[in-house]
């Protein structure tokens, strides 16, 4: 059994290293505080994997900084991480890079798994009266309007609403990810 566990971990690490890209994976909720790092990271955030060991992964998150928050895009709508520790940030030409270490259990190479909660909520709550629009055909701004207009009818909770909005923004026309075919 132990051997099997080790094999799974090694296999997973191998996959991550091969991929060089991962996504923040939080089982419940949107935001994960990493106290030691002085950083909070948001579910689904894409990561560049720098190195890995048995329990943790060193990663780099790239985005646009506004205050303490690192955003995915210049319109500051999709949060990636929050930090008070400026030393963790490296300034590039336009973007900032955040270097942190994340527990291996909070990282996955499966984009769909990372975004499953938001995706499931959207396709569950928002397709009961009509079909879903193609997410990638609308901008974040357009999704904000559409979702806000329909939210009262969908009767979603505040947390569910946050998950759905985050998912829609990430996969929108001007978002950072594309839904797989």
């Amino acid at each position: 059994m132990k051997f099997l566990k080790l094999f799974v971990v090694l296999f997973f690490l191998g996959t991550l290293l091969e991929a060089d890209t991962g996504y923040v994976y939080i089982e419940n909720g949107i935001k994960l505080p990493l106290k030691k790092e002085g950083v909070s990271i948001y579910n689904g955030t894409p990561l560049n994997i720098l190195s890995t060991d048995k329990n943790s992964v060193k990663v780099e998150i790239e985005g646009f900084l506004k205050g303490k928050i690192l955003y995915a895009t210049k319109n500051y709508k999709l949060k990636l991480a929050e930090t008070r520790m400026k030393k963790k940030l490296k300034k590039g030409k336009e973007k900032y890079k955040l270097l942190i270490t994340i527990p291996i259990k909070n990282i996955t190479d499966d984009m769909e798994e990372a975004w499953a909660e938001g995706s499931d909520l959207f396709y569950d709550k928002c397709t009961k009266c009509h079909h879903a629009k193609v997410i990638g055909k609308h901008t974040m701004q357009e999704w904000d309007v559409l979702f806000n207009s329909m939210k009262p009818k969908a009767k979603v909770s505040k947390d569910e609403s946050s998950q759905i909005v985050r998912f829609l923004r990430a996969f929108s026309k001007d978002g950072i990810l594309k839904e797989s075919d």
Partner: protein, 795 residues
Amino acid sequence: MGISRRGFLQGSVATAMVVGVKQSGATELFSPIKKIPSASHFGAFYAYVRDGKIVDIKPQGKDDRPGMIKALVDRNYSNSRIKYPYVRKSFLENKPNHKDLRGRDEFVRVSWDEAVKLIAKKLKATKRENIYNGTTDGWAHPGLVNYCPTLAGRFFNIVKGGSVNIDGDYSVGAALRTNPEVVGDIEVYSLQTTHEQILANTEVYVMWGADLFKTNKIDFAVANRKNDEYFLKYKKSGIKFICIDPIKTETAKMFDAECIHIRPNTDVALMLGMMHHLYTSKQYDKNFLEKYTDGFEKFLPYLVGKNDGIAKTPEWAAKITEVPAYKIKELANLFSGKRTLIAGNWSIQRAHHGEQTQWGIITLASMIGQIGLPGGGFGFSLHYGGGGQASAGKAGPGGFSQGRNRVKNIIPASRINETLLNPSKEIDFMGEKLKLPHIKLMYVAGANTVGHQQNINELLEGLRKLDTLVVQDPWWTPTAKMADIVLPATTILERDDISLLSGSYSGDKIYAMKKVVENPYEAKDDYEIYSLLAKEFGEKKYKKFTKGKSAMEHIKDFYNESNAAKTISFEEFWQKGYVEYEIPKEAYGFVRQGDFRKDPIKNPLKTQSGKIQIFCKKFADFGYKDFKGHVTWFEPAEYLGSKLTKKYPLHLLSPHATYRKHSQLDNTWIAELYKIKGREPIRINPKDAKKYGINSGDLVEVYNDRGSILAGAVVTEDIREGVVAIEEGAWYSPKNSLETNSRDNSGQPNVLTSSRPTSSASQSCTANTVLVGIKKAEGMIVPNKAYSMPKVNNI
């Protein structure tokens, strides 16, 4: 086993007798009458059933106009019911010319097993990118378990990974794509300022095309009749009503409204004329424009004519609209001087350049400066779904989710003809190029495409290019008659279900939609039909589709997702037939855009600037000739100001039906109350009638280059000169189906409407941009067979 309409009528007479006897206390002579609660788009009702037959239907609660509910009985026993599964003969025999024979062929009765296997085989052989889910815009009924649009989407997404869907809708396609950028909300389906606020504050109520009384008879969910009570209060309120409409509507008459009989499709010119007057007379609200809007300075040069040399003066507008310049000024003065609410409707945006209309109202209302004040500003849904009622704000029952559709191709609503006739054609669409899909298989459940789509002759040509057309419906609609494979579905009276939270805006009730009678034929529930089909794709997909549950188990689950389930058990709800939510007191104080008005910094609109976009850079950047960055008057391709009037001198409007929900109930006795010699009425002004030698009750032919129809003349002062109106929804029925462009024998206006899109931007429908000619009907008048079964072989 069969129940004829005659049998039903006899049953009704018997019921009357029963009631009479019951009052005398001698009910033991007869079988007991069961009272069963259910609900429909026309309202909630109790069905009275004796010996397995419906003997009457009566509304639940107060309803002074239950005609459409009562017609549900007749619809159930209609001769137009689809009794068994059928396959079109030449399709079944795979004849080389079978596509051309769609709508012209006889049908062969098959077993359910044969039909289901044949559909599954066709679906398996067709790529999902070539399948069009034509159910997406159906409004068959408000039951959540058998709700066709959701079931169809869920089915295709599970078994095929998706299908091609339409984007937007026929009702408000243009507004849905402009309002979000202009005012940060789709507006057309959003909660409206409450009646309480209107009654307390509004001084002038402008019904810009909106016929509040008529269109509130039905609902996307279950219609409630609360608006009727408010309308009685409106009448006594002292509010001045103004109706800007080529037709004097029922609502205008009810409220003694001042009628401005504008030329159809010229509303934007009237708005611009008023705006110009407000600007030059300095009556516009400069502070509002500065604080709450963005881009007025970019619109102003166009308004005053600095860009194009044409100042949009009331005099300029008068020539286009035929509303006198003095009246335009008078209206503008009135609107800016009194608390004014403009109730915009949807039909004015179902016209060439329809994107401009609601944007125009928003721009005009911005200059008036009352947006967000109680009883002021604009509302685009006061005519719909109990608009104006306060919201309970509670969660209703759950429902099936459709899941993810992996097909990214879309068809903008109204572009189905173009798609079928020109697969892979590239069109403009909201600033991008869109490649239309190649549709090979179309599946329609509980929807009537040969009814809601414009230019029916063109549509029929397109449908004859498909490889396969499947229709699932309780009735032989014009769409079912075009099908290759036809599946009989049960009606709402023949199955259990649970309603959407209704009415649409108040969300005050959940209804048990109980089975009233057994289906006497071989029809199956929509849920069961899709489940059977899912089974053909393997046990895993079947289980995913059904969740391993029966329809009744889903009804319970859906109910348990509602707020009501916390206090009232499912059993109690099901027994009683409904649960009711209390409306919180504060809900009656709701004012649309009220929060934005109070604090636009704290509560910005979800637009680029956070304010109302009088100018929208995103739209300007599209670079289209027919859609600009601000409200613009574009001359429609067909209107009373165009040269085409020499050939076709009348403007045809096709407003919502008074006694139908689109095409629903056209096959019932209620239609007999208003049809003229079995054809849809056409309203015509006495001056026009005299010109063409037409009298009330005459059968007339209405025609243009796209086709011709028979209609029954109603000569009335209620419609302005030069305009005729045929309500949408009559069942299309060609005089001779073997002929191309054969005259429609029923009065379906979409034979005459154009499939021209609103503009390169939203590509929406333009049903109200139509010129026609009219003459007394000539030639042989054959009976209207719209409501008859096609030729079937039941062996």
